[in-house]
Symmetry: C2
Subunit: 114 residues, 2 copies
DNA sequence: TTAATAATAAAGCGCTTGCTTAACTATCGC
DNA sequence: GCGATAGTTAAGCAAGCGCTTTATTATTAA
């Protein structure tokens, strides 16, 4: 089990590549084989496999093999973890604005009192 | 103006590094100078500047200089764009499950009709 | 005006990434 | 069994990344 930090490293790193995002977009529509994943992509099969390996190592994606076909699908929970990190930052930023607002209110009220 | 794809590349790439995420976490609590950003980080100032440059190039962060101090802050809209890409994938995945559910319902109903 | 502070620029270096090609293995359908 | 299909392994290579050190440029304050 990787720690939270390393997990996020890998998730964001995985999402930073447009080919890998295209693969995730395809998987979001439903489970898919490796060669189906590769079909629209302008690169060799081994290259696609390497991208898939990155996605699996990040936990964003899972796959299992039946016969000679490997079927790949999204892991929504891992996606959620990355999403939540970003969301937290925006929430904190919002709180900061709240605090600033209250502070300005305080100044105004104090001014009225004097 | 970069296209959406390149924008996401840079945003996720920027978030893939733990030092840069730490910097964003700090900025989420409020605007901050470069040397303040650097203080808790175990690396040279130029290294911090390079991380900051990556964050600015991604649009996740903005900064401006007053006198000799550069003040850095978060750009919540750019964060939001990255967040929404992830969210879209999870929503699509959810819709897929809906469709599957309806399909199974249809099978069941058809079975009852016969 | 000079010393300290805050930031910046430039060059270099080792490690990682994103491919490629070539060779190989396992399974399927006839 | 045999050819076609689906995936896998390994090696190699150019470009990019994450630092470092060294040197420099504002700006501020004593």
């Amino acid at each position: 089990m990787l720690n939270q930090q390393a997990q996020l490293d890998k998730a964001f790193q995985a999402l930073a590549d447009p080919t890998r995002r295209a693969m995730v977009e395809r998987m979001a529509r439903g489970p898919v084989s490796v060669s189906e994943l590769a079909r629209p992509l302008d690169m060799s099969l081994p290259a696609v496999m390497q991208h898939l390996a990155v996605l699996e190592a990040s936990g964003l994606v899972q796959s299992r093999k039946a016969g000679r076909v490997r079927t790949c699908e999204i892991n929504p929970e891992a996606l959620s973890a990355a999403e939540q990190w970003i969301n937290q930052r925006r929430i904190e930023w919002g709180h900061r604005l709240d605090r600033l607002g209250r502070y300005l209110e305080t100044l105004k009220t104090e001014g009225e009192e004097k």
